[in-house]
Amino acid sequence: MSNDFAQFQDAFFDEAAEHLAVVEEGLLELEQHPEDLDLLNKIFRSAHSIKGTAGMFGFNAVAQFTHKMETLLDLLRNGQKAVSPSIADLLLKSTDCLKTLIESVKTGAAVDEETARRLTTELAAASASDSQPAVAGSTNKVAPAGSAANCSGDRTYVIAWTPPEWLFQRGLDPLQTFKELKNLGSLTEVTLDMSRLPELADIDSEKCYLSWGMQLTTDKDQTVIESAFEFVREDSALSIQLVENKGAQAQSLITETSASAETESPKPLGEILVESGVVSRETLDQALAQQKRVGQILVEQKAATPQQVEQALQKQRQQESAAQAKKTDTTSIRVDTAKIDKLINLVGELVITQSMLSDLGSRFEMRQLPVLLERMVELERNTREIQERVMSIRMLPIGTAFARFPRLVRDLSAKAGKKIQLVLSGEETELDKTVIESIGDPLTHLVRNSADHGLEPPEERLDNNKPEVGTIRLNAFHEGGTICITVEDDGRGLNRDKILAKAIKQGLISESEKLTDDQIWPLVFKPGFSTAEKITDISGRGVGMDVVKRNIENLGGTVSIKTRKGYGTTFTLKLPLTLAIIDGMTVRVGKETYIIPLLSILESIQPKAELIKTVVGKGELINVRGTYIPMVRLYEVFASEPEYTDPKEAILLILETEGERVAVMVDEILGQQQVVIKSMEQNFRKVEGVAGATILGDGRVGFIVDVRGVLEIARHGHPVAA
C-alpha cells in the first residue's frame, strides 16, 4: 500500500502508548470489579483503536495480535465469557507482548516471537473453548467468476437495477452511480421504469420508486462494475449480464458478494494443521509445549553449562533493554493547543515591544528615557511570560510516571507472597518531561525495595498487630520551587543494627564511630550495600540504592530517608521543577560573580568576631543562635582574590542542603535573578563545588555554587583550585 500516512506514525505511537496504559490499568481494575461493563467497553475500545490504526500503517503483526485480544475482550463484554483471573492474567501478558510488538515496529528492536505466538494461541483458545468451536477453515472464497471472462477488449453488459426504497434516506444518490458507471465505459440506452410509482397522493417524497435499465460497454471486469453499486448491492435487485457480441445469449455473471478477500500473513504451520482438521488444538499445544529453547538443548548436550547460558541470557536482556532505552529516549511531546495559542500571542506581544524599542532607538533623545525604561519593563515581562509558557509546554503530570506501578505492585505481591495495596496521590503534579522520564527507574527501585524488604509477610504483620495488607504510598507534591515525591511503606522499618554491622563489615565505617540515626540511614545508598540476607528475584542484588541516589542527584535532586522501626520507611525525593533554569542569588567575591541557588539560602548575616571559632581538624565554625555551623570562605574554595578577608566586614550566607547547614562567606550580595544553567561537564570537566556555569548580564561567565560540594569541602577541608 503506498502510504502517505507514514508521517502520522509518531502520533500513532503516542496514541498507542496511551491506549496500552488504558488497557493495562483497566485490566488491573477489572480484577477487582469483573462485572464492570463500562470498564470492559473502555478496554475493548482502546484495543480496537490500536488494531484499526496499526492496520493503517501496515503494522500487521500488531493489528493481528490486537485482533486476537479484541476477540476475547468482545466475548467478555458480550457476557459470552466471564472474566476469570486466568483470563485477566492472559490479557495482561498479552498487553505486555503487544507493547513489545509496538516497540519493535517503532525501533526495530527484536521481538520475542515465541511468546507472541504462544499468546496468540492461548488467546484463540480462550476465545474458543466453550462458546464456539475453534474457527473452522475460513469459508472458501472462490475467485469471482467474472475473472473467467478475463479476455481483453470491450464487452457489453445489460444492467437492470431496482434500488431499495430507502435509497435517499441513506444519503445515496442514484445519479452518482450513473456517473461512476459512465466513467467505466460508454453508458447507453438508459431506460427509466416508473411502474412502481404510486398515485401522487400516496407518494412519499423521501422514497425511491424508480428502477433503471441500461447498457454499459466497457473493458473493465464485472467486479469493477459491481463496485459502482457497492453500498446498495445487497439491498437492490441487481442483475448484470454479459451480452455476447453476436447478441445471442446473455450469460449471467452475477455472483454472490465477494467481500474483499481477507489479506492475512501466512499462518504458522500448527495453525494451518488445526484449521484443516489434521490435528486438534490440544495436540498442537502439547507439541508446542515440548519445543525446547536453544539454551536448554545446549545444556542437555553438555555444550554449555546452565550458568553460561544464564549469563548469556542476562547479557541478551541487558542489551535489549539498553537498546530500547536508547531508542525510546527521543520522543515527541503532545501539547495542548491552548498552550501553543497563548505562546503565539505572547510572541506577538514580544514582536510589538521589539518594534517599539527599535523605533525608539532610531531617534533616541535623552528626554525619552522614561519611555525607554517603560519599554524595557515590558520586554522583561514578555520574556518572563514566554519563558514560563515554554517551560509549561515541557511540564507533564507525574501520573504518567506513576502509571506503571499498579501493575508492578500486583506482580510483586504475587511473587513475594505478600498482600500489598498501592495508594497513589498527587498524580496531577506537573514536572519537566525529562525529569519524569528519568525518575521512572529510581522510583521503580524504591517501590521494589519497599515491597521486598520493607513490607513483612502477612503472618508477621498479623503477629505484630498490623493489618494483613501492607500499604505502599506514592505521593507527589510541590514544595517551594521543588517537587517532592515520597515512597512510603508501613513495613518493618530499617534495621539500625543490621545496617551498622554491614557497614562495618564492608569497611564503610569503623567500629568505634558513633553515628546518629540520620547518619546511619544514608549508608544504604553506598555502593555495594545490601542487607538482604538472601538475594531475591525482586530486589537486593547489592546494586541499586546507590544507583537510585546517583540518578536523582544527576537530576539535581536529593533523596532522604525517614524510618521508624516497626512502623515503616519513607523515602523522599526532592527534584527541581526543571533542569534548565534556576532562581539564583548573585554574589560577589572580589571581582568574580557567583550564583547561589536561591532554594538553599536560609538567611544572610554579618557576624560578630566573637561568634567565630576555629576548631582543630574541623576548620572554622560560626555560632548562629546557639548552633555551630561550619564556615567556608568562598575565596579559599575557588582560590580567588577577595575584597574582605575579615568575616566582620564580609557577609555570611547560611545555606542548607539535605538537612545540613553551612555558612559561606562572600563580599557582597548583588541581587536575585534567574539563570540558565550551562553544564560544566559537557563543556569543560567536573569541578568540585561548582554545579554549572551561566552567562551573566554583562556577558561574563558566572559559576553556580554546588552547595553540597561546598559542604563536603568544608567538612574535609581540601579546597580545590578552579
Binding site: 475493548f44 484499526g52 490504526t53 493503517m56 434516506q169 445515496l172 452518482q176 456517473k179
Partner: protein
C-alpha cells in the same frame, strides 16, 4: 471546491490522517472526538457536505451518531461514511439500518478514501 467535511473519530491519529487527506483535497474540515462532540458541533445548524465517522467511540458511538444526524433536517440526505474494520459485518448492517450511506474498510489509503467519498458526494 469549498466543501465541508465532518470527521468523527476518538483516535487523534486517525482523525489527523483523514483530516490531512481531505484538507489536501480542498475540504474544510471539522473534527470531533466522539458522537456527542460531533452532535454538539453541528447542533447550531451547521451543514456539512459529508460526514466520515468511526464506529467504536466512547460517549456516543458511530451508529447512534448516524441515527442522531439523520434526525436533523440538515443531515437528512447528507452522505455519511463509516470507518469499519473488516471483521465488523454485523456493524455494517447496523450502520446501514441507522442510515449510513457507505463504509470504508480499515486499513485504507488516501486514494481509497477520496475515491469512496467521490462515489457518494455529488459534485
Amino acid at each position: 471546491m469549498g466543501k465541508t467535511a465532518l470527521i468523527v473519530d476518538d483516535s487523534p491519529t486517525m482523525r489527523q490522517m483523514v483530516a490531512f487527506t481531505l484538507t489536501n483535497a480542498g475540504f474544510t474540515v471539522v473534527e470531533a472526538q466522539d458522537g456527542k462532540d460531533a452532535v454538539n458541533k453541528v447542533s447550531g445548524g451547521a451543514k456539512m457536505d459529508i460526514v466520515v465517522t468511526d464506529l467504536n467511540m466512547p460517549e456516543m458511538d458511530g451508529i447512534a451518531l448516524i441515527k442522531e444526524l439523520r434526525r436533523l433536517s440538515a443531515f437528512k440526505f447528507t452522505p455519511i461514511l463509516m470507518l469499519t474494520t473488516e471483521s465488523a459485518a454485523e456493524k455494517k448492517q447496523a450502520g446501514k439500518e441507522a442510515g449510513a450511506t457507505g463504509w470504508i474498510v480499515k486499513p485504507f489509503n488516501p486514494e481509497v478514501l477520496l475515491k469512496t467519498i467521490a462515489k457518494v458526494l455529488p459534485a
